[in-house]
Amino acid sequence: MATVELAGKSLEVDADGNLANRADWDKEVAQAIAKEEGIEELNERHWLVIDFMRNVFEEKGDAPSIRKLTKESGVDTKELYALFPKGPAKKAARIAGLPKPKGCI
């Protein structure tokens, strides 16, 4: 497994470049990944999405679908794409320290 330098730490990542160990994740690491994804500063709306994703993952073992995200997190589809322009499901999961979502929707 590959390792990358994030927020001054050497961390293991999976084949998609997402964190391999969820225990390695903290807010600084999230900010460092966000920067790699072109998001200069995570704001409270980003955090709302990230926290929601982490909670769903904790419960279900997979990241939520975009539909679930927009229906339950309080962030609608338009805003979601504005927050994570290069694809919310994949990018938000990566910043949240989760594996790439398995769902199709």
């Binding site: 975009i66 290069k86 199709c104 929707i105």
Partner: protein
């Protein structure tokens, strides 16, 4: 490594539930990956963006050789022609889709449009079915001829469904 896909044009030409959904799922999935998407609805595929029809899309039980009964037995073709069979199959399939978090057509079109996907109606098909702009759902950007479709698809991969 091969070049990643950056732009897609998806043509939807069929109006049955199984004709419409694959295109919608692929379009939404592309946006989720950050791929630019436009959708072009033509012929019976127009039903997916017509105000009066989009909430009433059904499964074709006639002429569908892969159709199975609950339990997995192949459905005899004559059975598909019985009144109510398509309604029943549609009900079953919509229930399965809802469980997978796949939205109804109207919500799906809204989702794709809100995600930045562009929705277009085919001019020839609109004329053929005597439809005008006011028959379309509000997410449709424009009615365009095929030439414009190709212009807008510059640099895109085209998928026909």
């Amino acid at each position: 490594m091969a070049e990643p896909i950056e732009k897609l044009s998806i043509v939807v030409s069929k109006g049955s539930l199984d004709g419409i959904y694959p295109g919608l799922i692929m379009a939404n999935g592309a946006r989720m990956e950050g791929i630019e998407v436009m959708m072009f609805f033509t012929f019976f595929g127009l039903d997916a963006i017509l105000e009066k029809r989009m909430d009433n899309i059904s499964v074709a039980t006639v002429g569908n050789a892969a159709m199975r009964l609950p339990g997995g037995m192949k459905m005899p073709t004559w059975l598909g022609a019985i009144p109510g069979m398509s309604t029943f199959a549609t009900y079953m399939m919509k229930r399965e889709m809802e469980a997978l978090d796949i939205p109804p057509v109207r919500e799906f079109i809204e989702m794709i449009s809100d995600a930045g996907g562009e929705i277009y109606a085919c001019k020839a098909a609109m004329d053929m079915f005597h439809m005008t702009e006011k028959d379309l759902c509000p997410q449709v950007e424009e009615i365009i001829p095929v030439g414009t479709f190709y212009e807008k698809s510059a640099g895109a991969q085209i998928i026909f469904t």
